[in-house]
């Protein structure tokens, strides 16, 4: 929004926009509260007694009572939920039974690995998916269109963990082109631990900042396969959506006008039409970014990638419910946040959306 806008209707438009954002924020808060309610309910029906897991089997009645009071389990349900929400809002997601550290701290430690993976995967997905979708849309019914469709459908039909295993088998086991599971070779892991200052927690960024290009190269060889696997899924989604948006755009009159003016076809498609396609596409890309969080649970297990997904599954197998639910809240919150962000971006970019 420019400050030089001096048209008389500007203030009212600003006001309307502010109102729209306020509504969005309210919906965001309501959804977040709902998220917490669901995890709260799950945590209360869990058959594992949180008191017993803290004081141990042989505790006396008095000790159990004391622990109950300390945990606030003697209060009414609605009050417990209130405390839960207040804690969550202040960033307190409870303590992990496994690591004996606050869940929020654990999540902050593992999240950069997932973020790094999802970001590279989304870049792959956009770089492959958008051109594929445009190619398919401009040649409907041809073999290119069918091929793009089939590649997309295959992506919707393949279990991500299986594709990851097959990738490991082919590119790591047989061809030896990429690094194996984990974020770095074990030798480089030590170097990264001691020689590289931690800035973002993302290995690619931190090593680049420190100028340690040998570690950087090793990290690239490790991330390329899992990111490629996840990127394939976002490509399947992005190419499909790009195709349908593009088909819609190409039937518009301004496209005919541009063609009649004698504009070269590549310019009509890649400049005029694509510009308008980008608007709804931003939403799609944000959604696929959010979906990658989900795919990362299985992918991280296959590639021993120490991110949020692996953290949640590890906690699951150790019956560490605070960590499972804390991780679930964080993933849900990021998911909701990205959805909301795509909504806001859409409103900002598209002048028609009011």
């Amino acid at each position: 929004m420019s400050t030089t806008d001096i048209s008389p209707r500007a203030p009212s438009r600003l006001k309307r926009r502010a109102k729209g954002f306020a509504g969005l924020l309210l919906a965001l808060a309501a959804t977040f509260l709902g998220l917490l309610l669901v995890t709260f309910v799950i945590s209360r029906v869990v058959p594992i007694d949180p008191v017993l897991s803290i004081v141990g089997e042989r505790a006396s009645q008095a000790q159990i009572e004391a622990a109950r009071t300390r945990l606030g389990l003697d209060r009414p349900m609605w009050e417990q939920f209130g405390i839960y929400v207040m804690n969550a809002v202040q960033g307190d997601l409870g303590q992990s039974l496994l690591t004996r550290r606050p869940v929020a701290e654990d999540v902050a430690r593992v999240f950069p690995a997932t973020l790094e993976l999802a970001t590279i995967a989304t870049i792959f997905g956009v770089l492959a998916g958008v051109p594929a979708g445009v190619l398919a849309a401009t040649r409907p019914g041809t073999w290119i269109d069918q091929l793009v469709r089939l590649i997309g459908l295959a992506g919707y039909s393949m279990p991500v963990f299986w594709l990851g295993l097959m990738g490991l088998l082919l590119f790591y086991g047989i061809l030896g082109w990429v690094g194996g599971p984990g974020r770095l070779d074990s030798g480089f892991e030590m170097m990264f631990e001691f020689d590289v200052p931690r800035v973002t927690g993302m290995i690619l960024v931190d090593t680049a900042l420190a100028g340690k290009w040998d570690i950087f190269a090793n990290a690239v060889s490790h991330i390329i396969l899992p990111a490629g696997v996840l990127g394939y899924y976002s490509m399947a989604y992005i190419s499909r959506m790009t195709r349908s948006f593009m088909m819609n755009e190409l039937s518009q009159e301004y496209i005919t006008t541009a063609r009649v003016k004698g504009m070269p076809e590549w310019r009509v498609i890649w400049v005029h039409a694509l510009k308008n396609v980008m608007v709804p596409l931003i939403t799609v890309i944000a959604l696929s970014y959010a979906n990658l969080l989900e795919g990362s649970v299985l992918t991280e297990t296959v590639f021993a990638w120490p991110g949020l997904g692996l953290y949640i599954t590890n906690a699951l197998f150790n019956a560490d419910m605070p960590a499972v639910l804390g991780g679930t809240v964080v993933v849900g919150a990021v998911f909701v946040g990205l959805n909301m962000l795509s909504d806001v971006l859409y409103r900002l970019v598209d002048p028609r959306a009011k």
Binding site: I42, E294, V331
Partner: protein, 301 residues
């Protein structure tokens, strides 16, 4: 045969049954022109047959262990897809696995859409605060990534096939509620609903008898398109060891046990994954074809 087709093609059907059969026939003809949809239909039919006749198709007992025959390559000693680490025949396990997959898919397909349909139609027809509350709840469930919520639910309920079905159903109803609500909003103010209301029908009768049938086609399309997703989620839960428990032959679980031998005995993890891939692809192709046939908007062009 010819009398049957003329009966089906009759332009002035004399009964409701004939009209419906004629419509279905036209749809079938339209779908037959789409080769990819027919491939999908064939795959799904093969899956059904495989599940129904598993004992006759399987060459070995899917659970019987024979440690002298462990980790054999495909096509040795009569093992089409080789054997796993307990000497069990992988082909037979894949065939029996079709039963497990179909069991999960069927249970989810009859629970989640019905619940979603109920929520969606009630919400759309009632409007007002009922609509607001129900849709907020739907939004909350939509806000969770499916697999993560299913994981948390299974963690609480304990692993097992029934709990996996419950977790998947609980996470997959919201889209049906959305679809059903949208359909309800388009028909709730139409004349025929007003006519039914004037005849004295109550809200429950209107929703059940006159609105739900209108929502069925779009919900059915959604269900077929979602089946692949259900199969993948179930396999994912199985892979993590949270779904079906051993020694039952579930495809995801089989992949996870083959993981340990990935680089030496590649077939243990590869074969069940291929089965998942082919079956999901079948459902996706069939769903795409059905959408083209049943969705009036896409037939218009």
């Amino acid at each position: 045969m010819t009398t049957l087709t003329t009966w089906l093609r009759d332009h002035s059907p004399s009964s409701r049954l004939q009209a419906r059969a004629g419509q279905a026939w036209l749809g079938w003809l339209r779908m037959r022109r789409n080769p990819l949809a027919m491939v999908g239909l064939t795959i799904v039919a093969v899956l059904l047959l495989m599940a129904a006749f598993a004992p006759w198709i399987a060459t070995h007992d899917p659970i019987a262990q024979d440690l002298s025959q462990r980790l054999l390559r495909p096509m040795t000693n009569g093992h089409l897809m080789g054997t796993d680490e307990f000497g069990r025949d992988i082909f037979s396990r894949v065939v029996y696995g079709a039963r497990v997959t179909l069991y999960i898919v069927t249970l989810v397909a009859v629970t989640a859409p019905v619940f979603g349909l109920l929520v969606g139609t009630v919400s759309g027809y009632a409007g007002g605060w009922v609509d607001q509350v129900l849709m907020r709840i739907t939004d909350i469930f939509l806000a969770f990534p499916k697999l993560i919520l299913a994981l948390a639910l299974v963690a609480v309920l304990g692993p097992g096939i029934e709990n996996a079905v419950l977790a998947i159903a609980l996470t997959s109803w919201p889209p049906y509620a959305r679809v059903a609500r949208a359909e309800t909003l388009t028909v709730r103010n139409s004349d025929y609903i007003a006519a039914v209301r004037l005849q004295g029908a109550g809200p429950s009768r209107i929703v059940w008898g006159h609105i739900m049938p209108m929502c069925l086609p779009s919900v059915i399309i959604r269900v077929t398109l979602d089946m692949a997703g259900v199969i993948l989620t179930a396999a994912g839960l199985g892979f993590l060891g949270l779904g079906v428990q051993p020694p039952m032959p579930e495809w995801g679980l089989m992949i996870s046990s083959g993981r340990k031998f990935l680089f030496e005995q590649w077939w243990v993890a590869t074969m069940p994954g291929l089965a998942i891939f082919v079956v999901s692809l079948g459902f996706n192709l069939l769903g795409d074809g059905l959408r083209d046939v049943l969705d009036p908007r896409s037939t218009a062009k």
